[in-house]
Amino acid sequence: MGISLFQKSLRDMISGMRSNRNNEEKYIQKSMEDIKKELKSTDMKVKTVALQKLTYLNMLGFDMSWAAFHVVEVMSTPKLLHKVVGYQAAAQSFNEGTDVMLLITNLLKKDLISTNPTERSIGLDCLSNIVTLDLARDLIADVYGLLSSSSAPCRKRSALVLYCCFLKYPDALRPCFKGLVEHLDDHEQSVVCSVVSVLCELVIKHPHNYLEMAPLFYRLLLNSTNNWMTMKLLKIFGALTPLEPRLTKKIVEPLKNIMSSTMAKSLLFDCITTVCSGMTSNEEIVEMALGHLKDFVLDSDPNLKYLGFKALEQFVKHIPETVLRFGNAALMCLSTADPTIRSSALRVISGLVSKKDLKEVIVRVLEHIPSADTAYRNELSEVVLSICCRDKYSLVSDFSWYLNILVELARVPGSVHGKTIAFQITDIACRVEAMRDDAVQAVRSLLIDPFVVEMGKSGSIGEVLKATAWITGEYASFVEHPKETIEALLQPGILKLPCSVQAMYIQAILKVFVHITNDLVCDDDADEASQSEKDGSTWVEGEDDAEEDNGDEELDKLGVVNELSDLILAHVDQYSDTPDPEVVERMSQLKAVLDLQKGMDDIKDVKDLFSKLHGIISEELQPISGKAQKKVPLPEDLQVIDPIMEEFFDEEFDLQQAEEDVEVADNQAASVTSSRGMDAAQALTEATEEQKKFADETAKNQLKQHREKHGVFYLSSDDKQGAGDMGEDDGGEVENVSVQEPPVDVSEDSATKVDALTSYRRKKKKKKKQPTDLVVKQDEDVNEGVDSPVKINKNALDVNPLAPLEDGEELPSVEAYPTSYSNEGDMPTYETSYEPVHSQNTEAPPAEKQKHKSRRRRKHKSRKEKEGAPQEATAAET
């Protein structure tokens, strides 16, 4: 036992690591070197211990992909003690890219057909951990066979492992489904439970395929005595009831019984989530659920509290008016120390708030800001901002109040929402004309506060200051204290702000100065005169004395202007060192204007110049209606029917591009610059009658087919509400039906097959939904392409497993198992060949050959690798 005497065991290595805490790295490096040597040993025991150590190190983050072959070696020893180490190592380290996977197919097969229950169970377990498409394809028949084993633990485990195989090899779902469902009648409750677990996973992903099974689930729900299984069944109904409202009525009674009788909070909670996912139409059950939910929300146990709010979030989405009573409880929770609960409570609040109580709620939310940490402060700010700007500020009735809230939020230390705040302030000032005065007054406090400017150095408050400067300049006519404002715009702290903000400040100075000067010198009307006096009086002392003499007045006005320009000139040079060209340019522009003004002695010249300048600056930026594009008349010679390029509509990219263009055109109707954008926009908004008709017909046909197929689940009359509801699903459902035959790559096929015009039409109808759907699918494909060599479509499990099997869809080698398989004693011990599962002629060689299997496997390896590729190809084709 030479090496094993001197070999460090796993325990030794761990102890060593613990005693070498100071130079652990070195110790591990040393251990790794030892392991590498030991793995090459021919003594299985040495190899196994080395692998065990390596697995431990892998857990700590050290790579072991290089040892994959050694893992397989250890896995293939007959000794269970060693084998288990190998299997654990494989479960931990193998992934889709592991190339030695091909070597383990037979190894696992041997385990799965073993008479030893332990071998079977660790084999199944290992398969569940490392299954790939190839393994699933080659072994699914064996797993399926074990489903009818006489041992309940084995049946239980194989049902779960079948699901793992379906995930990798979706084609197997339909053939195996019947056999799986049969075990819902298994006399062993635990087997039923695991089958229900599998079905639950399947149903949750694609509920529409399993509606037909509702009666079966209903029966199970009535008879279930196992809480875990009841919970799974409730999840299943939670997924089914939104698709079939009539189910609600059916399961109300059992749900009520469970809710009133169960002591298990977990079960009770699942009842509540089932109610809120699809049964909100039934008031009685909703009331009962809310009664229990109240206990959750008010419970002192943070877990129950959190779950209570989590369920509330769902209720708020569906029936906000019914859960209004929880608003106060949610507000109370904002002071709890648990961030998870707080976030959930905030989401509930955000869903419940209404126009009436907006002010109160916002104030109560803001109350928590002073005592909160930075992350929470930002979370609170975000909630306030998102609540108020929702649906174009539909909840806000008092904008003056909201502007002050925004200013307050801008002062929150460490805020990351400066950009949003800046946008909203600007947005409101632009859109609501009546609010401009309030906006200018509101931002004044930010402008003159040196502390805020200091804060603007870092973080996002710079953005707010930029908006502040812009508003002050743009709406300079509302500035009440010009001198103070100009001083604020010139304060030295601004040099520390980002350059774009500095540029905005200089521009604002120019605008304010021009406006004031214009007001001062051009006020021939009495009204304006008094206005300007009022303005002037705040910053020029002793002007009252000069008022009486007209000539003096003019001189004084010039004096005031000069004073102001002196002030600016004295400070504006601070910007000259800035590296940013825009800042420097604006500075020199400002100086040029001031120099011009300085050189003029005659007030008439000044008047002349500044009325012109004012004319340039005072042109207002107008908000443009989203529908403005429609008002632009269509040029008569515009050709929109013929495609610009033949393949124009085939290209996903072009469609999206075109849509973006539409939006751009909608938003900025004035600046449609690209003629192509214009064409595309028109093409998208103006479909011809023929196209519409064709698209409608296609959609109708598909819908008809779908309804015929699933007719049972529709209420007899197509009532409007139902039709509306189903409209949502149609996209997906119709696609489903139309491409049922090729079960793989459903989404891709349908996306490309659907006639260009149809898809274009659909896009137009569901402008927002459809394109994103497609994009997501593409992303998935791309990801999988990168991650794994085998491309699996996640939607491939979206098949109707209840439909009868088609030709060539049987699970071929299942028949290779004798039906008396469950009689453990005389199990066939056939040597499994490398035929793929599709082939029928798996021959059963004599039992003695088993011994030579491992040797044969190596020989076969190269053969298999050669054969592997074409087989895979054919499989993919079929």
Binding site: I3, F6, D43, L81, C164, E201, P302, A337
Partner: protein
Amino acid sequence: MIRCFLVINNFGKPRLIKFYERLSNEERQKAIEDAYRLVSKRLDDLCNFVEDDNLFGGDSQLIYRHFATLYFIVICDKAESELGILDLIQVYVETLDKSFENVCELDIIFNQQKAGLILDQMITGGLVLETNSQEIVTKYKELERSMKQQEKESSNKNAGGTTGSYNKSPRAF
């Protein structure tokens, strides 16, 4: 579906990891770090659920329990029952306690294989296999027994003859 089961100590050292999705070494380590980062900053009187949009590629929730020096963490999809998983963690710890007698961190460090095999009796491929602690212990004992029995048989068989193992070792002297 359960995506992974992790046991991490108070200092972020993994003590048992079990992933039910195939990830690369780096992705696994990142998941472990992320999970530790999320749970370690939470005080013990907070709730046992953590939401994080970036966790495990999204659509996941983290459910954990903190016992003495160890965090028992489950990351699962959002369809899994929260309290059910919390119970499951409890069951696992109880089972460990039964199998090790007053289980502590050291037991798991030095008996990783055992801890892992016990977990395998409870969760298979991300789905729950068994929730009864006693049943799990029984199943594990069966496994252990059959491993030992086979070992005994084979050592008996080999008792007379040579072991046939290669004894020379480069590290022997």
